[in-house]
């Protein structure tokens, strides 16, 4: 086939184009991975909770940080029509010292031990009572904490040691690794003073259907996804990452389109000759598109390999919030291939417009 033979015999020319496509595709994949990584650190801990909906205080503007719910609110929410199960969750950012002169902030979530809100451990035991803590793998990577270690969590001006009983794999929350303590301990961590005046929870995790928009006097229920989107900064961050990604795709489409347009211009006389000896415009356009498809596919595959290599080497630490999923890799790579084909449409028009009389004029 003409297109394949040309690719094979003009390795340098098409190799350079493939390299440029690979770099553009790599850029798009890295930006996509950055978006996913930021998402993951922003609130995977929230998305991973075992429920469909979340209830917030009405005046909290869907902010976990600002939401405060009383025992009465929690009871009302649990009794709302359509709610199958409800479990209160508390949140506070706690600065945890985990070594001499070393401390980091952990998103400390209070859950009722044994409830569906308590994440399943991947190692160790579930929470069984006060003074115990589950830590996320992200915290383990950060602080090197192991099961059986004591984790000092601050209560007022003091610190109370919690025993690490299990490790979970829930991700981060507010860009901080998560730890899980019994709800009663969370109340002591978050609010000092008279226990009777303490809020019962920050939010309520709910299992149930068709609850989105359900409201009480002082609370409202939204989907977990809606709750995630309202985490402070998530929308702006995703909009920025998406803008970068779409710009990359647009630039990629234009660059690939221009590359193939220039290659087509270089071949105008040859294409005119082929038309003069009986090649149809459809045949030539098909050959051109096949070349674009193969070159962009090759570039996209190289970029996927580069991205995986980058993830395995340079970004193996937790310092850069980047992650790749099969879906994201495939979508980004296929976007580049599709963008390349769209960009090449300009060349197809050029091919269709070539007059075969050029075969006699080129002499």
């Amino acid at each position: 086939m003409l297109a394949l033979i040309e690719l094979k015999r003009r390795k340098l020319q098409f190799g350079l184009v493939t390299g440029v496509v690979a770099l553009i595709s790599y850029l798009i994949i890295m930006v996509t991975g950055l978006g996913l990584g930021l998402n993951e650190q922003a609130g995977t801990g929230l998305l991973a909770l075992n429920g469909d909906h979340l209830a917030y205080a009405s005046n909290a503007n869907l902010s976990v940080i600002r939401s405060r719910l009383t025992e009465e609110h929690v009871a009302e929410i649990a009794a709302a029509p359509g709610v199958e199960q409800a479990s209160p969750i508390g949140y506070i950012a706690a600065v945890v010292a985990h070594g001499p002169g070393e401390s980091d902030t952990a998103a400390t979530l209070g859950v009722v031990p044994g409830s569906f809100a308590e994440p399943n451990v991947v190692e160790g035991e579930q929470l069984s009572g006060p003074g115990e803590v589950l830590v996320d793998r992200a915290w383990v990577r950060l602080a090197g904490t192991a099961i059986g270690d004591m984790l000092p969590l601050p209560i007022g001006f003091e610190a109370q040691d919690f025993t690490v009983v299990g490790i979970v794999d829930q991700g981060s929350f507010f860009f901080q690794p998560t730890v899980y303590v019994p709800l009663e301990d969370w109340q002591a961590l978050a609010y000092q003073g008279d226990p009777s005046s303490r809020p019962a929870a920050s939010i309520v995790l709910i299992q149930g259907e068709d609850l989105d928009g359900t409201r009480g006097d002082a609370w409202q229920i939204v989907t977990k996804q809606e709750g995630f989107r309202n985490i402070e900064g998530v929308q702006a961050q995703q909009a920025t990452v998406n803008a970068l990604r779409y710009m990359g795709l647009l630039i990629g489409t234009l660059v690939i389109g221009v590359f193939f347009y220039v290659i087509t211009l270089q071949k105008v006389s040859l294409l005119g000759i082929l038309k003069a000896i009986g090649a149809s415009g459809t045949f030539l356009a098909t050959q051109g598109l096949l070349q674009v498809f193969l070159v962009t596919l090759g570039g996209a595959l190289i970029s996927v390999g580069l991205a995986l290599l980058t993830e395995a080497t340079l970004l193996s630490s937790d310092t850069v919030p980047i992650m790749f999923t099969t879906d994201a890799l495939l979508t980004s790579a296929l976007s580049v291939v599709a963008g390349g084909l769209v960009g090449a449409a300009l060349s197809v028009r050029q091919v269709a417009a070539i007059d075969p009389i050029i075969a006699m004029q080129q002499q």
Partner: protein, 227 residues
């Protein structure tokens, strides 16, 4: 019965006072097995006439009957099929596809559809053999000599067994000996396979090797006779 008949064929460029008749009211018949030389000074309209007969240009007026079918009435698709199946072109500069070997340049026409590919592969071998190109069949066309390239061009023009072969200055870039060999190869193919051929040339010695010589001037036929 003539295989190709031109009836009052005219080609004009421009309009009004700018109008130029490159070819003006040309009528002629060409038979099977006949090789015709078309001679005349530059700008006399020879190549324009060749382009119209080959379906590369549309006449402003007149009929071009190939086997009694007027190709002037063809749409784009019919025109492409006409060039693919009925006409074999040999251009001045041979016009090979540079990244293909001699054999691949011949087999290229098999990719255009409408033919049995295995039959075309056999045909390519036959033509390479007849035109003494077997030894260079697998060399890139850019590595062939001028004479070899022109013989490959002739072979490519004959691949789909066209009724009509159109040749534009086939020897312009060749020395006399090579030019004579190329034209003789072409004449042999035309006579042996009972084709019709129109060859545009500036070279009187090459023109004299054809069966019939037509002199062209200012877009009109000046003389038409046997050589």
């Amino acid at each position: 019965m003539a295989i190709l008949s031109l009836r009052g064929v005219t080609k004009s460029f421009g309009e009004g006072a700018q109008r130029v008749d490159a070819v003006s009211g040309v009528s002629l018949d060409i038979e099977r097995g006949e090789m015709v030389s078309l001679v005349g000074p530059s700008g006399s309209g020879k190549s324009t006439l060749l382009a119209m007969v080959g379906g590369l240009l549309t006449p402003t007026a007149g009929q071009i009957l190939m086997d009694e079918v007027d190709i002037v009435q063809f749409g784009r698709g019919d025109r492409t099929r006409y060039r693919r199946d009925k006409v074999g072109f040999v251009f001045q500069g041979s016009n090979m596809v540079p990244f293909l070997t001699a054999r691949e340049n011949l087999l290229l026409v098999a990719q255009f559809g409408g033919a049995d590919k295995s039959a075309l592969r056999r045909r390519a071998d036959e033509l390479l053999n007849e035109l003494e190109l077997t030894s260079v069949a697998d060399q890139l066309s850019t590595r062939l000599s001028g004479g070899e390239r022109q013989r490959v061009a002739i072979a490519r023009a004959l691949m789909r067994d066209p009724m009509l072969i159109l040749v534009d200055e086939p020897t312009a870039s060749l020395n006399t000996e090579l030019g004579e060999r190329v034209v003789d190869s072409l004449a042999a193919e035309v006579h042996d396979r009972n084709k019709a051929c129109i060859m545009v040339t500036h070279d009187d010695r090459m023109a004299a090797r054809a069966d019939r010589l037509i002199e062209f001037r200012d877009g009109r036929l000046l003389n038409d006779g046997s050589t």
